[in-house]
Symmetry: C2
Subunit: 339 residues, 2 copies
């Protein structure tokens, strides 16, 4: 009956798509908090595209996870022991727990989750990092105006599904690109996207024409989660003064070679268009603003979301790999412990 502390460490670096063997499960006794610390029991873990980048041993905006080191990631957990002045047993906190069943924290970089607002899992989705990514990446980089066409790739994912809805809230026409018919159904049927297509049923050479037909007035703003051939096909469809927000390039994340593609910078001259990359962390000072807006829209029913929950901490690597392969609709989560 005694509870174990379980954790996934990086066992080896993946080449291409990660495999479960890249992660090693270790276990030991549940830790005790030091003075000023809490111990959390992880309730939910988030698996996100950015994690693929952390497995690569190259400098980036964050250091890579080292071999033998705890795998990085966000989670929510309930305080089970506390020697912290502000956090009590029973509190639910959200932060970078890493892939582990329990987490010792001094509370810095963690925030308390309001359980009365929405289920705590939403702190990892619509009211968490993916929600804030959609909010700031669309509104601050693309500046969508009513009547404009906003196109989003990865449109049935945790971020993309919110981007289209936030575009609709701002009076735009929202068009999505997703990788399965049921995803297209979901975003157009339930989420209110004006149009969408399943890129897996369209030949690559027809991407451009398909986008043109679904965006008859051109693309004013493009929120890019995937990169690659889909993004190539967007550039010639950009309108004058088009704006492109580069959130992710998941199509290339598992590619270790220097991927080639058509050169498209000249489109930016013709269209006087702008392409900008961003990281949600840069908006940390405005998270409160973003979260309040998202919570308001969620409460009003203007923002819908879906969670795809994989049960069992031990299945975290598989959930991560599945997410990278587009198996999720909405936000992919791991339920690490029954609450």
């Amino acid at each position: 009956m005694s509870e174990l502390h379980r954790r996934f460490v990086l066992a080896s670096r993946p080449t291409g798509l990660p495999v479960p063997e890249n992660f090693r499960l270790e276990s030991g006794p549940v830790p005790e908090p030091g003075e000023g610390e809490v111990v959390l029991r992880t309730l939910y873990l988030s698996v996100d595209p950015y994690m693929r980048g952390r497995l690569r041993d190259v400098p980036s905006y964050a250091p890579p996870v080292q071999i033998g080191e705890l795998m990085t990631g966000g989670g929510v957990g309930r305080v089970i022991t506390s020697r912290h002045p502000r956090f009590a047993v029973g509190d639910v906190l959200e932060g970078l727990t890493g892939w582990q069943s329990h987490c010792v924290s001094d509370g810095k970089m963690f925030r308390r989750v309001d359980e009365t607002l929405a289920p705590v899992s939403t702190a990892l989705g619509v009211l968490g990092m993916p929600g804030l990514t959609a909010y700031f990446g669309l509104l601050d980089i693309c500046h969508p105006r009513a009547g404009e066409t906003v196109l989003v790739s990865g449109a049935a994912g945790a971020v993309g599904s919110l981007v289209g809805q936030i575009a609709k809230i701002h009076g735009c026409r929202a068009v999505g690109i997703a990788g399965a018919d049921d995803k297209v159904q979901w975003i157009t049927g339930e989420l209110g996207f004006d149009a969408a297509f399943n890129y897996k049923t369209v030949a690559e050479k027809d991407y451009r024409r398909t986008i043109a037909s679904l965006c008859p007035a051109g693309v004013d703003a493009y929120f890019d989660n995937v990169g690659g051939p889909l993004t190539d096909a967007v550039f010639p469809n950009l309108n004058l003064r088009g704006r492109v927000s580069i959130c992710g390039q998941i199509s290339q994340d598992n590619d270790e070679t220097a991927v080639q593609g058509p050169r498209h910078l000249f489109h930016l001259i013709v269209k006087r268009a702008r392409v900008e990359g961003f990281l949600v962390m840069d908006y940390a000072e405005r998270f409160k603003e973003g979260r309040a807006k998202l919570a308001e829209w969620l409460k009003d029913g203007r923002l819908k979301h879906r969670e795809q929950i994989v049960d069992g901490f031990e299945n975290t690597p598989q959930a991560f790999i599945g997410m990278l392969q587009g198996e999720n609709t909405g936000k992919m989560l791991v339920r690490a412990a029954a609450d």
Copy 2:
């Protein structure tokens, strides 16, 4: 002794680098002005990279030149006959004359050139479209701040040579990329660039390292005239919040195939960087401001410029082709008539 009206029309569309035979010289009597019109005798013609795009029969920001049609281009000319209320015989005007020895104009889209300010040829260079392109493309798109590193490709050309100097005027470190040792000499020796290199003497695989060594604090702003492998090598050297101004992509202008290159949008995420294309025409309402600043710097000696003048109207196609091949240092002009 009688003066002829000579004009170059587009004879055929080039594939790859244009050849003189793509242009056909026609001649006829010097035209007479209608009511409200002037006739100009062309003094100087400008040859510019953008003209290559006009030879291609694809939609762009301006319609292509049609076969048999007068070749487009800017020039300065002196009024030799006038039936225009505001322009008198002897006035020098600048505007889109096209490649011809004489030009009939109603004066719209033409402006009077102040002969006392500087030689009239500067109206096509440092005080004309190239000067304004450097001014707005650097200041408005890149927002250079004192102490930052500004890198420019095509650095010994009409635009690039001014970009580096304007960067210096704003307290930046200016680094140039050019295609000949004497160009490198000129921009570092006479124009005050802090560093430069001749890309033709560096292997393509070493571009990235060379840029890194000349920009030890990274690249904060990149003004791109050329595109292609040089630009690819800049992306990994961008600093956090780097800005890239896409002015031209001359390396690909003569390439009719869909050119491939490494995908680099992920760099924009890592660096939260921005890439933006622009056209100088979009700043028409601010030309007066730009021209005043450029004239002030020119007068102060803070801005130096060089003109490379090809003599003889009949040599316009060769001057154009030479410019596309990088034969010019500074602004390439054709002296169409002795004044």
